[in-house]
């Protein structure tokens, strides 16, 4: 009996850990592209909140999950474009303007929620897909192959992002612009175009990350429902050494800790829940300390680019 309990306990944590990694992955991969091109987007949290609300509201009204997802993408893209304009054309300090976008997203998503909905509602989010054969494998099937589509796509994006960054012309341009914008510029690469692409893509990915919470994981919208997750995703980019697979490892580490923490709360372990919730944040700080020593950030990160003369 005890054996069964522990096995199912760990399967439960691993399965929900994989699921909970989804928003970190979308937001973290988007932020990776943006930072590799030299732009620190700290508005992720605000973009996620807006994406989460847009997806939830449209799904709630139309009953169509894909329309909800489209709404999140549009809202994320709009916020990404705004961030791009402010940091690229107006060369605003990236850290502070990112905080401005965070406050904007926090305030606006709360405002829209209160004005358009008023009460907490639920929707039927993306259902889990039981992948034939693989999903039937005991334990492994339960952990990996009975998730919803957003989870599969998130993990599929990791090698795709890696491929784009390392093997395509666009990836080469992104890295060049992030490491040495002057050299890239002198070779005819448009620094601002590349950064517009990455920052807007980052916004879209953050919007999807929000949607993956409101119509995939939790299927509700509540004000400030991300509660710092977007900032953790930014930290994961540092932790992952600006590499997609590194970000994935970080995301999994965090989501597993979170899953464990949630599970222990459910099991009624006598540690105050307030202190358990603290764990991922403490872990983030430790992770940041450990990584900064070992990897070098893109040289042009946070530096606006301007042609001489």
């Amino acid at each position: 009996m005890g054996d069964v309990l522990t096995t199912s306990f760990f399967i439960g944590i691993l399965a929900s850990g994989i699921r909970l990694a989804t928003p970190y992955l979308y937001a973290g991969l988007g932020e990776t592209l943006s930072q590799r091109s030299g732009v620190l987007n700290l508005g992720v949290e605000g973009q996620m909140l807006m994406g989460a609300f847009a997806a939830f509201y449209v799904t709630f009204q139309t009953g169509n999950l894909w329309l909800g997802m489209l709404a999140a993408i549009i809202v994320g893209a709009a916020m990404g474009l705004a961030m791009a304009f402010v940091t690229i054309n107006l060369q605003a300090e990236q850290g502070i303007s990112g905080i401005g976008f965070y406050l904007f997203g926090l305030g606006m998503s709360t405002l829209l929620f209160q004005m358009l909905m008023g009460t907490v509602e639920t929707v039927n989010g993306f259902p889990s897909i039981h992948i034939p054969i693989l999903g039937d494998i005991p334990i492994i099937g339960e952990i990996f192959f009975q998730q919803n589509i957003l989870v599969y796509v998130a993990f599929a994006l990791v090698p795709i992002a890696q491929f784009v960054l390392q093997k395509t012309t666009l990836g080469l341009k992104i890295r060049a612009v992030g490491e040495h914008p002057e050299a890239a510029d002198s070779l005819g690469v448009s620094v601002s175009t590349v950064r517009y692409i990455t920052v807007t893509l980052g916004g879209i990915m953050s919007g999807i990350a929000g949607a993956s919470m409101s119509i995939g994981l939790l299927n509700v919208f509540q004000q400030n429902m991300t509660s710092g997750l977007g900032f953790i995703a930014v930290a994961l980019v540092y932790f992952g050494g600006w590499r997609p697979f590194g970000v994935m490892l970080g995301a999994l580490l965090f989501s597993m800790v979170n899953a464990l923490q949630l599970r222990l709360q459910v099991e009624g372990v006598p540690i105050p829940s307030d202190l358990m919730v603290m764990l991922p944040y403490v872990l983030t700080i430790i992770a940041l300390v450990l990584t900064v020593q070992r990897v070098r950030s893109p040289s042009a990160l946070t530096k606006p680019f301007e042609r001489e003369g």
Binding site: L103, G107, A235, I285
Partner: protein, 374 residues
């Protein structure tokens, strides 16, 4: 000479233009949401300035913004971005409240200053951690301060629901997370028959002190030198890492004091709703907005805090009269931040033009290297 003055006035007015632009975008948002922006901003103004009591409430809201904003001025002058005001306020308030509760019955003239000092130190500690992490480990301080906020909230929730909970609340089913009330003798005196308390005087006094600190002391000189050019500062013999820690430490200390003053001046106990803003009212973030609007100058932050305090007070009226949720102000403040930071490009452009003019006309150099002071 005259031309330079005009250009400097434009520089000083840039945040005002930026804020007006943000308000204009806010007006469009209100229109989209079906609210008349003129009536909405009218309600906002009336709520903030419409009566003596409204003015006093605005000043009350401005106190924590100013204190946090002063800390922001110090940190930003060292080129360190402190987003941790919320957490630093919370830690300061917790420690200050514990002092008051433990020394209940003691003499107010001793206990209250002691509580403020301990809260100041608590905020300093909470700020020094990300400061040291940045200085010695290169950890991005924006991320670490955001995490420190989240940690502080959980500490607060744990303490206010557990060990520090008001014994009266512990008996009830509601279990509101709040501490026992402070001794009535510990309440900060009120200035006029409104809720305006001594904290306002303390905050304005400290603004002047911070100005002196930044521009009239060696420490201030070092902090600003590090902010302007860390390499040159290091070459000049300044220990850059130490200044970074000091800047964030001081920044946190002022936020911590803001937390204590919230407790001793306003609520007379520490209370929350389980979120950071439940205790701080968002002052840790709004203080950043005020400091940016005040051009990171301690004296400029005084009227700026008053202005953003007005927005917060007016927001309540906005909610009552127009049914526009007060979250609108959070979003609006975000826009103000984005616009003010973006507007800086025009100041830099003119500065560069001035420098170019200076290299062509060396005799003007003396006026140009003069301390800009903000």
């Amino acid at each position: 000479m005259k031309k330079f003055d005009a250009s400097q006035i434009i520089d000083a007015l840039l945040p005002v233009f930026a804020t007006l632009a943000a308000l204009a975008v806010g007006a469009v948002m209100l229109l989209v949401l079906g609210a008349n922006p003129i009536r909405a901003y009218g309600a906002l103004l009336e709520g903030a300035f419409g009566s003596g009591n409204a003015l006093a409430e605005t000043a009350v809201k401005a106190v924590p913004l100013l204190l946090v904003g002063l800390g922001i001025c110090i940190a930003f002058r060292a080129n360190v971005i402190n987003i941790g005001g919320e957490g630093q306020m919370i830690i300061g308030a917790i420690l200050g409240t514990v002092v008051g509760l433990e020394l209940s019955g003691g003499p107010g003239w001793l206990v209250v200053p002691l509580a403020m000092l301990i809260g100041f130190a608590g905020g300093a500690f909470w700020g020094a951690i990300p400061g040291a992490l940045k200085a010695y480990f290169g950890v991005n301080e924006i991320l670490s301060t955001v995490m420190m906020n989240a940690i502080a909230v959980q500490i607060m929730n744990y303490l206010l629901r557990g060990p520090l909970i008001d014994p009266a609340q512990a008996e009830l089913a509601s279990k509101i997370p709040q501490t026992a009330p402070l001794d009535a003798a510990f309440r900060l005196p009120r200035l006029v028959p409104t809720r305006l308390h001594l904290g306002a005087v303390i905050a304005v006094g400290l603004a002047i002190l911070v100005y002196i600190l930044l521009w009239r002391t060696t420490l201030g000189y070092r902090i600003r030198a590090v902010g302007q050019n860390p390499h040159a500062a290091r070459y000049g013999g300044i220990r850059v890492r130490r200044q970074i820690v000091i800047a964030l430490l001081l920044s946190g200390a002022f936020a911590g004091l803001a937390g204590v003053i919230q407790v001793y001046g306003l609520n007379y106990r520490m209370i929350t709703d389980g979120s950071a803003t439940g205790f701080t009212g968002g002052a840790g973030f709004n203080g950043i907005v005020a400091a940016l609007f005040g051009q990171l100058h301690p004296i400029g932050t005084i009227p700026a805090s008053f202005l953003f305090g007005a927005l917060l007070v007016g927001a309540n009226k906005l909610q009552r009269v127009m049914q526009v949720p007060s979250a609108f102000i959070i979003g609006l403040n975000g826009l103000v931040v984005v616009f003010v930071v973006s507007s800086d490009i025009w100041r830099r452009k003119r500065q560069r033009r001035r420098q170019i003019a200076a290299t062509h006309q060396p005799e003007r150099e003396t006026t140009l290297t003069a301390e800009s002071g903000g």
